[in-house]
Amino acid sequence: MLRPSTTLPRRGRGPLWRNPAVRALIIQAVLFLVLAAFIGYLVHNTLLNLEARGIHTGFGFLDGRAGFSIPQTLIDYTSDSTYGRTFVIGLLNTLLVSALGIVAATIIGFLVGIARLSPNWLLARLATIYVEAFRNIPLLVQILFWYYAVLRALPSPRQSLSLFDAFFFNVRGMVMPDPQPLDGFSATPWALLVAIVAAIVFGLLAKRRQARTGQALPVYWIGAAIIIGLPLIVFLATGSPLEWALPEMAGFNFRGGINILPELLALWLALSIYTAAFIAEIVRSGILSVSHGQTEAARSLSLPEAITLRKIVIPQAMRVIVPQMTSQYLNLIKNSSLATAIGYPDLVAVFAGTTLNQTGQAIEIIAMTMAVYLVISLTVSFLMNLYNARTLLKER
């Protein structure tokens, strides 16, 4: 039974433990002691165990020779490289597949999310089926399916499936043309950079002009024309200094071109398709969260449909979409660690897998691996908090 206490705690009156401030202090002190004792016990055990197994703690092992090869390296690496280098290689591979996945998942997710709201019954149903099918199947099953049931079942290089005679799919992955920059190509990227800066400056000027005169310029079209046009002109003016090395069959495999591992393809496919299902739901709920009154108000001001969408609906929907979307991006980065199930050489597979097995430095390696993901998560949530503070509905 509960009884309301009859005496109110007051400073200087009654027993000491009735004083909330004193009680809070005692609870915290006890919690601190228990935690400290527990952690101390764990550390003590760990040190004893490490001694018994003859493992030396410390990060000295990072300078040791790795002695194993990695199938996909974005920077120079040989089996003579150090363990520290394997960490960097794994990290870069994780970032590569995450970046590819984020781009693809965003595109698919937006398309499916908008399709779910389509007035076309068939299209909306198809999008619903997509979402319900893919978000309810574990990602690991999807990765294994794409890898073992689809990509590993492709024919040998000799019988490759070809697309436009430039892309070839076989059991060893995908081979695609390799761009070979010639002399003078470096001007094009610079032109692109200049064009982007010019487009931004133009956008700002147009905005100021609109604020002053009320007349809007077609910023998006002109901006796109600058960004595409300027590099294209420079590229053509310097004599198109780019060649494509087409893959050719030589012996049992292809020569030339870039070979993309089937592991990367499977992981990329599964991550994008899976995450896109969640992004589609976020996009849909974001658009639905903008109340219909907003659209009606825009119509009664006789704003055109496109302007209503761009200036009224999307900015408000973004306030709902962006925070959830970033948490999906973080999930995708964390989920990319499932790479280890099919042997894509990501951080977990290479560093927390092979390197750990070879060196036995479990504590250091797991801590470093976790630290990478923690740093990424905490950085993104910090940026997200800034964004939220900026876009928060300003209420009086």
Partner: protein
Amino acid sequence: MTDSTFRTEMIEAREAPDQSRGVIGWFRANLFNGPINSIISILVILLLARLVWPFLEWAVIDADWIGTTRDACTGEGACWVFISARFESIVYGFYPEAARWRVDIVFALLAILVAWLAIPKMPRKKWVALFTLIGFPIIAFVLLVGGMFGLQHVPTRAWGGLMLTLTIAVVGIVGSLPLGIILALGRRSKMPFVKGVCVIFIEFWRGVPLITVLFMASVMLPLFVPGNIDFDKLVRALIGIMFFWSAYMAEVIRSGLQAIGKGQNEAGQALGLSYWHRMGLIILPQALKLVIPGIVNTFIALFKDTSLVLIIGLFDLLAIIRAGLTDSNWLGFSTEGYVFAAAVYWVFCFSMSRYSQYIERRLNTGHKR
């Protein structure tokens, strides 16, 4: 004269034209109401014809269903004999045949309890929930592990298949919910040290992938206990999974706590209720009810992620099927294997997600502003 100039009675409403009624009207209104929509509809129909029909042909029409050996597979469609031949091991793993009735009892009990809790009209929810959280795990533990009351001991090495998947999921759910409640309350505490510990705990687990947690559980946990204690592999994985998901659960529950007005707590204080009485009798019942959909969504995520234990070498549903694929008698059935695994997980997750939507609709009154 008046008769010929105007009517005195209403004309019957004429029927809508054929083109806006019935099947044709529906098609015109939903699929072909404009050139763009018509093109989209035709494209979607073509896509369905290219994708869905061949899949159905493969999975149902041309499939082989009957038989016990590989000879039953004709090779035209899917060969589900691959699944039915090893169905027992997919459900029970390596659990000794003589003791499988114990697993069946646990399955049945679990099904009854879940149904009881899920159906809103059932009486005595509180006691059943209490039993599910405390009584059921004890009974299940005694039955599954054995070694007492004359039951044969079955080591966790022999557990596998769907039974192991459900074990991990249920332990994860039952363990992470109370832990998540405590963490959520701790994070809202006014005591800086308690709050700090909870924030660090939650943010740590939420920031790392489950795989690294499982790796940690399998390689680092043995280092944490005195060398002579043999730490069961499954227990290690379960501890990792419980901690990991309790952090997500805490954030879901915290969002519910934030939705409860300050006045509720202050009213409790005005009545002189203690902290635990206020939380247990006033705040938590309202907050938890509010976030049932979120909790179920976390359950779904947890259920899907039980499949990750295959990476540290436990034989859950997915791992058993995957092991079957390397059987030299049954090479080349990976599509069937993974499609079946996907279907099993899908049924569980989809029903949970449907349930959460149903609850959301039911609760869609009251607190929403």
